[in-house]
């Protein structure tokens, strides 16, 4: 049974101070110049109760550009230098429950076979304090994937806002407990009947299991070409996505030294699968769009036992041509 506490509005500031002075970085969804970004949280006012950040928080554990290796050229020889990820202890405060669940989808890829120390080191240094969603929009579809706006999965602590201000904190993991230990004296026992703001209502648009079954017979359907006719083939959807994990590895060097970098990549881009010979296994945008859908909703569950999507809807909001994933999936699930 998880522990529960109450945290008042006034004590959030004290808590933030305690965390910062313990050397931890506190990040979370925050309004910056009219956009919601994952940015440093300094005061209670920074904690944004509703709305989704444009880009997900995955960069904390899987940065958009990260160094994997360094080397020096020394005549004919090469001196390799291993790289240790510099992972600052980080609290993700007020993360939406959908995003909190997304770390699992990253974890299964980075660790299903060999272990990726870069991801693992950063993940080990990250504590997730989720915040129940009390508002959703037309791009949200967590409930279609078997989750809900107050899902505890993936959070070390889940906060639920109280009508009277402040939060109920549900401590879910050891990392959560460690965090609570830092906040001794700040937390109070939970109210007997916590009067929380009700979680957002997100009407399910389809059923993920049913979708997966439908996909099995739909690979050659004209649906994918139809849906993707307006797709521009950019990577906006993949780069804002909290679960998209595909990456590129690039060398950058001068005559003396070099480094091997990992950078986000997207299966929606033409050159993703393009061979040097000119052959491209997924030459058409419709094939690439289909890959994106199948990878997340068919291949992930078949292979890794989890969905490659959390229903946060960031891709739909970021798409320059309004490719709404929820609608497209509902369409795929409802047909034949």
């Amino acid at each position: 049974m998880s522990e529960r506490y109450t945290i008042t509005e006034a004590s959030v500031g004290t808590l933030l101070q305690a965390l910062t002075s313990s050397g931890q970085r506190v990040l979370g969804p925050k309004l910056v110049a009219g956009r919601i970004e994952i940015a440093e949280i300094r005061t209670l006012a920074d904690v944004l109760q509703n709305g989704q950040s444009v880009v997900s928080a995955k960069g904390v554990v899987f940065p958009k550009v990260e160094r994997l290796l360094k080397y020096r050229f020394d005549g004919k020889n090469i001196a390799l230098e291993d790289v240790e990820p510099q992972a600052q202890p980080t609290i993700l405060l007020g993360l939406r429950p959908c995003e909190a669940r997304a770390f699992h989808a990253l974890d299964v890829v980075f660790n299903w076979d060999s272990k990726d120390k870069f991801f693992n080191t950063r993940m080990a240094n990250t504590t997730v304090v989720g915040l129940t969603c009390t508002q959703a929009d037309e791009s949200c579809f967590c409930t279609s994937l078997g989750s809900r706006p107050d899902d505890t999965q993936g959070s070390d602590i889940l906060l639920s806002p109280l009508k009277a201000g402040g939060f109920v904190a549900e401590v879910l993991t050891d990392k959560g407990k460690a965090l609570v230990a830092l906040a001794k004296g700040i937390l109070q026992p939970p109210p007997i009947r916590p009067d929380v703001i009700p979680p957002a209502t997100v009407a399910p648009a389809f059923d993920a299991k049913n979708l997966q079954q439908k996909l099995a017979a739909k690979f050659d359907s004209p649906l994918w070409a139809e849906q993707s006719l307006r797709c521009l083939g950019c990577g906006a959807c993949a780069f804002v996505c909290p679960t998209c994990v595909c990456f590129d590895i690039q060398d950058e060097a001068d005559t003396k030294q070099g480094q091997r970098l990992r950078a986000w990549d997207s299966c929606g881009m033409r050159i993703f699968t393009l061979h040097a010979s000119g052959h491209n296994p997924r030459d058409k945008q419709s094939q690439r769009w289909r890959q994106r859908v199948y990878h997340k909703f068919a291949y992930y569950p078949e292979r890794l036992g989890t969905l490659g999507c959390v229903g946060c809807g960031k891709c739909s909001r970021a798409c320059p041509v309004d490719m709404n994933l929820k609608q497209h999936l509902a369409q795929a699930a409802s047909q034949g």
Binding site: G34, V55, R230, A236, A238, R270, S316, D322
Partner: protein
Amino acid sequence: MEALASKAKELLTAGTVKVVIGYGKGTGENRRPIFVRAVERAGDLVVDTACTQNLATYLTKAEVRALGRMAIVAIPSTLRSILQLAAEKQLREENVLALAIVDGGVRELATFDAIEEAVATIPDAIGEADQKMIDKLTAMSVTERRAFWAAELGRCVKCYACRSSCPMCYCERCTMDCNRPQWIPVASHAIGNLEYHMVRAMHLAGRCVECGTCGAACPVGIPVHLLTFFAEQTVRRQFGQKGGASAKLDYAMSTFKPDDKETFIR
């Protein structure tokens, strides 16, 4: 809106075009590109002030062109794009027909000359806010400008939405995707982003139709369109030529005049 629907119906019924590229209802209040191929879907076409994306991007897409002759719902910048694409030999008159949205009505423009005439009557000033921002930036010190762009481009994730949404970025193989040598770094670190956006702006100087679709496409809200606007204005100021004015103009950056006047070469 009804005028547009009936025009689309007429064109599709007569077989004049096979597809009408236009705007339809999207998520919430959004408008999204739609491709009307059946007469009974003509009613899906929407025209209102939310229709701001330049749809000319689709005119060079193989999947769309494969549908057959195209009609395109055109806002002023779309008309300019058509002319610029024509000038760059990317579009033939017989491939496209513009349905220009002017004064709340629809005007069918079937020839490049007709489009050119129409474009000449449309004021081509960029938005007031954008001009103000460019002026503000030009008034800054170079150090301030550097700091401004470092902060803005710091958010860039190199999703290439700006490139993909641009009607003039039709190259089959973009220089960003060429790696022998890897001239511009692939990764979206600071220098990779700066060089990418500099190259993009430079490649659009003299070709940009100032639609601002790239800036609108940016998921993280970087005003990348200011870069191409500025480059375009630089060309206009110095060479008196602007992108998207005519289907017959040479690209300003691939030509020269012996008496081009500069002030900085010693």
